[in-house]
Amino acid sequence: MVDVSVNIGGLKMPTFLATASGTFGYGFEYVGAVDYSKLGAVTAKGIRMEMWPGNPMPRHAEVPGGLVNAIGLQGTGVEHFLDITVPWYRSCVPSVPLIANIWGDSIESYARVAEKMGSAVDALEMNVSCPNVKAGGHTFGQDPNVLFEVVSAVRKATKLPLFVKLAPNVPSITPYVKACEDGGADALSLINTIPAMVIDIEKRRPVLANISGGLSGRCVHPVAVKMVYEAKKVTCLPILAMGGVYDAKDAIELMLAGATAVAVGTSIFTDPGVISSVYDGVVDYCERHGFAAVRDLTGALENSFI
């Protein structure tokens, strides 16, 4: 029997497999189509203090090998989340830890939503790829100094295991990883979507009402592998890796590159069964290669070219 459990930044996950924020609603929507016993955590859709309507339609465009979305973080706000959504999730999915993904438009609003969460969820994941209103729309995750400030503020506001989800579109991940470490993060989530745009040439207009969006899906997977590998070289923080995981091979690559746990995301839309097939395939790989525990895969990359 392969030990499939992992501990990532203090979050005890019964299995190494999670869902990525934004792709799995608030966790209960897929009941009936997904084998939840194979999940170690569900990451809920992003939540901020107040209700947020999201972007105008159209909100997505299918592209070869992936999907560009600009949903715009539509959500009901933290109070509704705590009063209605979390209890409903717990009743539908009693045994899978819940990670709340949080966001804000100011450092204070991040800290407030984190504090409000109390201990209602099992961990927090910060989305730092949203615009900082006070900084002319630059994202919090773009500037290592601002990133340090916002992570520090949230750290002070919560005792929960704290994940920070980083964007891949930076020249070097190192200063951002350090900012998260110094700010008191317990773990990193890698990667967020990649900024992208699609044009309808007949209408000569952007397909998305928001003009641009975030690319996810099959095509971003090698980017995620590289980011995880680079981050792991410079930090001891455990990594929850996501980005184009469609089969067990994709998940194993991310773990060999340094991830402690892996999330499936966009692939669920095409095949909710991906949760079972990735889980089963990773366990099978461990058995075939003599790994007693899935966590032994983390960073087990042979540098054979050196």
Partner: protein, 259 residues
């Protein structure tokens, strides 16, 4: 809701670019309600292609009937599916039509918008409500689908085509307006159930509201997840941004906000 592996029992061209796909889907068939839809993983599309949503045309004896038009890459590749192939189908999904119809049921379909109306007609007739009348519109005769099947149920059918090739020349609202006037003149209750292109749905919703009758409008939107998880298929309603896949696809006419 299940993700059911379904064998293709029949897949035929019914003319005009429309096809009928019949699947063996005992789980979905035993749970589906009129107006609900299924999310189909199209065999032959690459693994990162999204599923495609289809209204349920009929569900009977373990058999799930879909009626669709080739409108893009997904439906073009779906057209290559052959009898005996296996298809993953997620469903049944969404909120369908309410069946507590008071008075006449006026079903309005534009093109392949008649797809969810057949199971609706069957379900209404099974509850002994009605009479059930179908108003089907399209560009041309080839866009009027399954009309004989509705007639065989005992549904009175009114047709309209833009080119006048069959039925009245013009929009489907022509025969609908005449029927509404007749029912109102006779002080008879009626409800309107509609599926089709947005301009038609807006026109029908306005008629239901101005007649002070219940209107049930099935919206057709591109979807990602189909289960309420992704928030891509938004329709503006009096409650804000509603998801077509789970709060719809059928909305009360008075709840819709048209842009």
């Amino acid at each position: 809701m299940t993700d059911e592996k379904c064998r293709v029992l029949e897949h035929v061209d019914v003319g005009g670019g429309y096809r009928r796909l019949v699947l063996n889907a005992p789980n979905i068939v035993s749970n589906v309600e009129a107006g609900q839809f299924v999310h189909v993983r199209v065999p032959g599309l690459d693994e990162s292609s999204l599923r495609r949503p289809f209204s349920v045309f009929n569900a009977q004896d373990d058999r799930l009937f879909l009626l669709y038009k080739e409108v893009g890459r997904g439906t073009r590749v779906l057209g290559l599916v052959k009898e005996g192939d296996e298809v993953m189908v997620l469903g049944p999904l969404g909120h369908g039509f309410p069946l507590e119809c008071k008075g006449a049921a006026l079903l309005v379909g534009g093109g392949y918008g008649v797809a969810p109306l057949y199971l609706l007609a069957r379900s209404l007739l099974a509850r002994n409500v009605g009479p059930v009348k179908l108003f089907a519109g399209g560009r041309s005769q080839a866009d009027l689908l399954a009309i004989d099947a509705f007639r065989e149920l005992g549904v009175e059918v009114f047709l309209a085509t833009n080119d006048g090739s069959v039925g009245e020349k013009g929009l489907v609202t022509l025969p609908l307006d005449a029927e509404i006037a007749k029912l109102k003149g006779a002080s008879q209750d009626f409800e309107i159930f509609a599926c089709g292109p947005d301009p038609m749905l807006k026109a029908v919703a306005e008629r239901a509201l101005s007649a002070n009758a219940k209107g049930w409008i099935s919206m057709d939107r591109h979807m990602i997840c189909g289960v309420g998880a992704c928030y891509a298929c938004i329709q503006k309603t009096v409650r804000g941004n509603s998801r077509c896949c789970i709060e719809g696809p059928v909305f009360a006419a008075g709840d819709l906000v048209w842009e």
